[in-house]
Amino acid sequence: MSRISKKKPALCTDEPLSNSTICQKITLLRNILSTAYGPTGRLKQIHNNVGGHVLTTSTSTALLKRLEMSEPLLKLISTALQHHTTRYSDSGLFMGIFTLTLIENTKKYGLRTSTAIKVYKHLVEQCNVYLKGDSCGCKVPVEFSSCDSLVALAHSMITSKPACMLDSRETQQISSLITQAFLYSIPCNSSGTACFGRTVTIGIEGQSVNHSSVFPGLLLDVPEMLLPGDLERLGDGPFKVVLFGVSLSGDISEVGDVALEVHRGLNPERDLLQQLLKIGEQVVKDKVSLFACQKVVHPVLQHYLREHEVVVIERLGLALMEPFAKITGARAVASLFSLVPMEAYGLVAGLCFQDCGSKKLLQLLSSKHAAISTMVLCHRNETMLEELKVCAMTCQRAEHVLRLTLREPYALLGGGCTETQLATHITHMNQSTAPTTAAALGISHSEFLMAVESFRSSLLAVALSLEHDGQDCLIDLTYGHRWVMDISSQTEVKHTCGCGLLEDRSNLEKTHLNTACQTFSPVFLENNDTQPKVLDSFSAKLNALNVAVEMASLVLDVKYIIKDVN
């Protein structure tokens, strides 16, 4: 009889948000996130106390993946944040800071949670209407005729990741490379449903960032025995390609987990090799020049093929199978015992060598304009491969953000200007209609105003956390943009607002952020020639705003925690 252990009763916490340790932990997490926010955000080092790997980062994804949350409420916020970043790749920190400050402010203003939830819900809907509407001042359309705004978008993505350690020229280069890769991935022939191409990223350490570049087609590691002479002997393309999806190693382990009983006189391995060589013969007869296999190719077969001037690429790996099939049009062959069907063959327009820093790579050029490109990223920092990976990851995310703009061709003003404008607009909107809205929501007038104030100051808190050097943050009382008071440098350079859309004028009245001021409606700027320099992804930020409010409501709503300790 198996022994059944008795279950322990669960541990309970009543009213978790009035618990001081939980509040401290919330504040701590908010501090961690807000100090990492923005281009001047402070880097965070994560390591465990027994040594080992040290990670330096300021991105929310890397940060939260390593941080073990002890508090279930924080764990909940952390998972929501990670889910958001996997989908939208941007505005993770914005979401985290906004959620946590909303929670803190609700407590600070002593709001009843159900009231706060109702009002926040109402306000976020107003934000959605405002941001999606035409009269929104913090939204700029993305022009696809010129790539300025695309580069600006990518640029602000890269600058907000200070852990990449790029100087301004390098940042400029990387952001234009990302835009280039993005443009490559848009298919040219748009018949029927268009599908995005792929950008394969290769990282190379030890080279200066300036060596990074984008190549059309696919770049692969050069097989060991291939010499430049071999390619010359092949002549001009196009070349026939065959792609195998099964192992050609000649092992019979593929059969499965069964015991094999072999009769005397039979040699299954030799039979299999014979079969492989038959494939080789057919491939040579069909004039194939490039022989690729996802897994290992038997050395004898390799040798045979090389003798017949066929370029062999083995161990392609699963990740590269799809781009390879796309670029060549070849279909992966899986059977060893029948002839390779004619329609399985593919074509490449050309093969050539590319020198990328210390590495030699084989470039496959597409014959059918497949939207596949390869981005080679170099970074001078030899020792820290990790940093390079973060960089590569960042670039992929930036590209993803660019793709999102295709769905909604707008970008939001960066540099905190969106937050300040949104806060101003929301406060102004609700000033006059407060009594009616409060009655409709079934709460008192003063409660409603308090909740609006809490929402406003949470938005401004996000804008405030962009600044880490102790400078003053200001908001102008006409347009509602965010300004940084620069005391030290009194240079001739025209001072602009956070997003770079506005230039400073002497008659522009400003006040400190987060101080009470007269409400006003931000003036809508029309026919402006200057382009904003800092842009944020529209869809990512909109989703972040909504998710943040939802998560804050959820956490505020929790009245009881039950902890199962079994």
């Binding site: 009889m1 909940l76 819900k121 999806g245 009983e261 992966a332 060893l336 079934g442 929790v558």
Partner: protein, 567 residues
């Protein structure tokens, strides 16, 4: 086996103290103003819920009495899908009331036989009087209330029922969105089918008919035609028109089991491959365009699909495949292989992930539920499932009532789809939420001339605890509502049945409804549970193995409740 037994006497005091903590948990998440409960496990799972039954069962209750209450709660929830939190509140209020009444009589406590006598009388009340009150007093009130507000209710009674159910179970922000999406889901699934059938169809296949997407706000939830499989096509080709699809439950290639010996012959490998090829060629003869498989298929099947423009979907949930086969009258090839017809096949983007969409020849739609975190998603799914259980309970009671009343006229039993909800309304099957039922029952119990005024009073007083807990944050509002409501009731009492009554008592905020039958069932279940509790004299701890249920309801004798603690 040696038996070591321990005896623990159970008194009223024990019951009250056991229920106290349960009540305090449940009270936190009652009604639209209540909060939710976060549940965590050491494995790192987090779950958010307002669902009474769920919260209670996660507590891992130790005391046998508490576990017995939980059993009763579960049994009740299973039939109505509603009212678990009110169950605990009402039960503990009743227990407290019984205790207090002992104090009032200046007795230290109830004697055991007296308690049992009371329990029996309360049971009798629920069996005889309650039905009478509901049929002759509550239902007429409800039906005249509904006809008074019929202009508002006419077309959207279902919406109000759903929002009444949801508002107590999700956060204020999500309730509105979820209501719209569930109504849309229902109407799209229904089209021109029978209401009752649709509801029971959705309820029984809910697992297959919904998909979860984490990481998006709840507002992104939607209703999609056909069936959604959360996997991308392994091999995808554009297909048109009616499509023949093969449903597979096992690997198509050579199916070798574990632990067998293969005698290796000359061309064994090539022979197994050619067998697979023959099978695949046969599929082409059958004009199969889509293969849906519950397991991963070997590489050669993928290649075959790529070469022959066949779409292949692997790792489909086998429940979904069963569902497809069940609604489709499949053509069976050999045992585990079926052929079904599909309207279309599509690719779909759900929150950044590619999914497959299968169009089927029925009204079935898929409910896509989104939430920012998995814990929250669970709650949303749970609530959506509950909605259809609740609706099913309403339609079933209506049907059984109609069957009882009009067994002669069979044609009336088959109500047309639109009329079903009107019938519910006319029959007085629904009342506004927010304690109306409790107020009504309270009033009618107190004004009734019965043989047993004591138990009536006990129940009537205890009933008020539910609305009191609902308005716990604002006691003045509770008193306002109560006086306003009783004024209305007095007016209604004076007028004869059939006269139009003017109800001053209205609900300014969003009107929500709940079913009377569910509420009645709640009172009955609570009284049954109370009866069980009061009949327990002692708890006997034993080490021998027991059958899961040893107490029976009919046992009116002193019952000894026994639970195993360790085996």
């Amino acid at each position: 086996m040696q038996m070591q037994q321990q005896l623990e006497c159970v008194s009223l005091q024990v019951c009250v103290s056991v229920l106290g903590p349960l009540e305090s948990v449940v009270r936190r998440c009652l009604g639209p103003e209540g909060g939710s409960v976060l549940f965590t496990r050491d494995t790192g799972e987090t779950l958010i819920s307002r669902h009474g039954q769920r919260v209670l069962s996660t507590l891992h209750l130790e005391h046998p009495m508490a576990r017995m209450v939980l059993d009763c709660v579960c049994a009740h929830a299973k039939s109505t899908g509603d009212g678990t939190k009110s169950f605990i509140l009402l039960l503990s209020a009743l227990l407290r009331a019984i205790q207090d009444s002992a104090h009032m009589r200046r007795k230290a406590s109830w004697s055991n036989p007296a308690l049992q006598n009371l329990a029996n009388r309360l049971m009798a009340l629920s069996r005889n009087e309650l039905d009478d009150i509901i049929i002759h007093q509550v239902t007429p009130y409800a039906s005249s209330y509904c006809s008074h507000h019929s202009d508002k209710l006419e077309h959207s009674i279902l919406d109000y029922l759903i929002s009444g159910y949801i508002s107590g179970r999700t956060g204020a922000g999500q309730a509105e969105i979820l209501k719209h999406i569930l109504c849309e889901f229902y109407y799209k699934s229904k089209r021109d089918q029978n209401t009752t059938e649709t509801i029971s169809f959705i309820h029984s296949h809910f697992n297959v008919l919904h998909t979860r997407v984490a990481g998006l706000p709840v507002g992104c939830s939607e209703v999609i035609e056909g069936l959604v499989v959360t996997r991308d096509w392994s091999v995808w080709t554009e297909l048109r028109g009616p499509i023949k699809a093969l449903v597979l439950y096992e690997s198509f290639g050579s199916s070798l089991g574990d632990n067998i010996t293969v005698c290796f012959q000359q061309d064994w490998l090539s022979r197994t491959e050619s067998i697979t090829k023959q099978k695949l060629a046969y599929l082409l003869e059958l004009q199969v365009n889509v293969v849906l498989s519950s397991v991963k298929q070997p590489e050669c099947v993928l290649q075959w699909a790529r070469m022959n423009h066949v779409a292949l979907l692997e790792c489909v949930d086998s429940d979904q495949l069963d569902f497809l086969c069940n609604i489709n009258f499949p053509e069976t090839l050999s045992h585990p292989q079926h052929i079904v017809m599909l309207k279309y096949c599509k690719r779909l983007q759900l929150g950044g992930l590619r999914c497959a969409q299968l169009g089927i020849y029925s009204n079935a739609h898929t409910l896509v539920l989104c939430a920012p975190a998995p814990g929250l998603l669970d709650q949303t799914v749970c609530v959506s499932r509950g909605v259809f259980l609740m609706l099913q309970h309403i339609t079933r009671t209506l049907e059984s009532n109609q069957f009882k009343s009009s067994s002669v006229d069979q044609s009336q039993c088959t109500v047309s789809s639109q009329d079903l909800w009107r019938a519910v309304m006319q029959a007085g099957g629904v009342l506004p939420v927010g304690g109306v039922f409790e107020f009504l029952l309270h009033h009618f119990l107190l004004t009734r001339h019965t043989s047993d005024p004591e138990s009536c009073r006990l129940l009537a007083e205890a009933l008020l605890c539910v609305p009191r807990a609902l308005y716990a944050h604002n006691h003045r509002r509770f008193l306002n509502i109560q006086t306003c409501f009783f004024n209305d009731l007095k007016k209604w009492d004076r007028t004869s049945v059939g006269d139009p009554v003017k109800f001053e008592f209205g609900f300014s905020e969003g009107l929500c409804l709940e079913s009377v039958s569910g509420k009645q069932q709640l009172v009955v279940s609570v009284l049954e549970c109370l009866h069980r509790l009061l009949c327990v004299g002692a708890v006997l701890y034993t080490r021998s193995l027991l059958r899961p249920q040893i107490y029976s309801e009919e046992d009116e004798e002193e019952e000894e409740e026994v639970h195993t603690n360790s085996i």
